[in-house]
């Protein structure tokens, strides 16, 4: 009987040591999209999302605390950087163009231009130790975060950790994934037209018809227009089918001659050399330059590339061939592509650094 009080006290003490359960949170999603697939082992919580947001903007992740995720993924540029190739620590050039993060949480298949990451959680682990990106070391970073007076309690709270040694790179990846999964764009002019809240201009209407090959459809009023063949790969609502294609950027007669093996380096199949993941086109007007190596500076150049049919490769997509777009039709296609811009997304304060961010 005399033991009862110490036992109760011990139980109370142990309970007090356990962090409170994090608060579940699901960002509002538009009806037009199939719902985001939240991984069972990383549901978004208010605490995890805030932590991921802080980490995203904090250069603490890089070796010399000069580069953050946001150094390449600037929100005002739809989370790209305006450079042909990303720039890493000490100005080191990256290998490829920075992809946009618009609606990245909806892209549940592979990530990166070559699809080398299976999900956002694992994708987020890549840049930290890449010598051309953040140039750091996971053991050092984790050691720093475990001892950090602000980050360690935040990790503890977000993931219910007991001791600092439980903090691993996976928790960093999970927090960053939670923030990235919240980056939802659904208020472009295209979206508003779909919802019946706006109408395309005459030029945008023609561009829309070219983009979606409406000349192919029965009883169409666009029968005389060329087909752009765009939506085979860039299919709405996210304007990507998340698969890999050679889009005729370079004339290549042997797979080994591709300057960048792309998907082939991951799959090991020569037929996949020179293939890259079709990027989503939302906010395209903000994400120049274009292609995996940023070789094209304008949307006009991009449309002209596809209008010519691109260059020869045996694995060039069969849907890439000369389109026969006249100059006004090419301009109309560009006008339509600009309707995919969502200014409310790039200006959303919830996607910018927190005022009271962890330091």
């Amino acid at each position: 009987m005399r033991l009862r009080f110490p036992l109760l006290a011990l139980v109370a003490l142990l309970a007090a040591c356990q962090p409170a359960e994090p608060t579940p949170f699901r960002p509002t999603e538009p009806d037009a999209y199939a719902r985001i697939l939240y991984p069972a082992d990383n549901p978004t919580t208010l605490e995890g999302l805030a932590l991921g947001r802080d980490l995203f903007y904090d250069p603490i992740l890089s070796a010399d605390s000069t580069i953050s995720c946001a150094s390449c993924h600037l929100p005002e540029l739809a989370f790209t950087d305006g450079r042909a190739l990303s720039t890493g620590i000490s100005g080191r050039p990256g290998r490829r163009n920075t992809p946009s993060l618009t609606n990245i949480g909806y892209l549940h298949q592979t990530l990166f231009w070559d699809g080398r990451a299976d999900d956002l959680e694992s994708q987020a682990l890549h840049p930290v130790a890449d010598p051309n990106e953040m140039g750091g070391s996971w053991p050092l970073l984790i050691s720093k975060l475990r001892r950090h007076p602000a980050y360690w309690p935040a990790f503890r709270r977000a993931f219910g950790l007991g001791e600092a040694r439980e903090l691993t790179p996976d928790h960093v990846g999970k927090a960053l994934a939670q923030f990235q999964r919240s980056l939802i764009s659904a208020d472009t002019k295209y979206d508003r037209v779909q919802r019946g809240e706006a109408t395309f201009t005459a030029e945008e209407t023609i561009g829309h018809a070219i983009f979606f090959d409406l000349a192919d459809e029965p009883a169409t009023t666009f029968a005389t227009l060329p087909t752009g063949e765009c939506a085979h790969c860039h299919i709405p609502p996210h304007f990507t089918n998340q698969r890999f294609f050679n889009n005729g950027l370079d004339e290549v007669h042997q797979p080994k001659d591709f300057a960048d093996a792309g998907r082939g380096a991951i799959s090991g199949s020569p037929g996949d050399y020179g293939k890259f993941r079709a990027p989503g086109l939302r906010n395209l007007a903000l994400t120049a330059p274009y292609m995996h190596d940023g070789r094209m500076n304008t949307l006009e150049e991009v449309v002209e590339h596809y209008n010519t049919g691109g260059h020869y490769a045996a694995n060039r997509s069969a849907n890439i061939y000369p389109l026969g777009l006249k100059p006004d039709q090419a301009a109309a296609l560009v006008a339509f592509l600009k309707t995919l811009t969502d200014s409310s997304f790039v200006n959303n304060p919830a996607y910018r650094p927190r005022v009271n961010a962890l330091k």
Partner: protein
């Protein structure tokens, strides 16, 4: 009296439990794999990894072959239908993935007499937009044309060398689908699933047989017959019909 009531209640519970157990006896489920094999002229289809002869003298390199399967079912000896999958997409777009797509289902042990599936997206699903399905549902594999033309039931894409100059510079892109094209295919073949020496169920689709029946060959030299997209399905009906007719089921031990 109190104990007597308790005894009576427990006895009743025991009897009911035993009866339930008897009712719940179910045939044993066996993990059964169906293999969807892709071929060209009888050989395994190797995306971009092989050069294939075309009957007109041209050569082809395949880029993509895929088709939707609706209501994949086994029919048992009593005529009962066991639906294994309501909708699936069978896709070959990288040699790294090989020529066989395998799917495994829990199948009650028993005798079966046929395999049946619908080629394409069945009309009741074809009427529903992709956003109504889970993001990882086969109907969210971004094979949706538009609110008018709906899902793409099947695709064959290849690059052809028409001049035999070693360059595969003529794209062939056949995208097919509409409610009118939907077909139900049934393959008869008696087999037993009991967990011992079960046969491998192999459904083979041969791309060449979709393009030619040996007598009539799709004319890929004609520019008007290199692209079938969206609503111009009339050109592709010939390919679709042959595609639907050439599937085969083999039971392999």
């Amino acid at each position: 009296m109190k104990y007597l009531s308790l005894f009576a209640f427990l006895s009743l519970f025991l009897v009911i439990s035993c009866e339930d157990d008897d009712d719940l006896v179910q045939p044993q489920n066996i993990a059964t794999t169906l293999e969807f094999r892709a071929a060209y002229g009888g050989a395994d289809l190797a995306i971009q990894d092989a050069t294939y002869d075309y009957p007109t003298g041209a050569q082809l390199k395949a880029n993509l072959f895929q088709y939707y399967v609706s209501d994949l079912s086994l029919i048992d000896a009593a005529g009962n239908t066991l639906v294994l999958s309501e909708i699936d997409l069978i896709r070959y777009n990288s040699a790294a993935d090989g020529p066989v797509v395998s799917r495994t289902y829990d199948v009650p042990a028993g005798d079966y007499v046929s395999v049946r599936f619908g080629l394409g997206v069945k009309p009741e699903l074809n009427a529903i937009d992709p956003n109504n399905f889970a993001a990882n549902d086969p109907l969210n594999e971004n094979e949706f044309w538009s609110s008018v033309t709906r899902y793409v039931f099947a695709k064959i894409e290849a690059n052809a060398d028409l001049e035999n100059d070693g360059t595969f510079d003529t794209g062939l892109t056949y995208h097919m689908g509409s409610d009118a094209l939907y077909r139900t295919l049934t393959f008869t073949g008696n087999f037993t699933i009991d967990g011992t020496d079960d046969p491998r169920l192999v459904i083979t689709a041969d791309v060449l047989k979709a393009l030619t029946d040996g007598t009539n060959t799709f004319d890929i030299a004609d520019p008007a017959q290199r692209v079938i997209h969206g609503g111009n399905q009339a050109v592709g009906t010939e390919i679709w019909n042959r595609l639907a007719e050439q599937f085969s089921l083999t039971l392999e031990q």
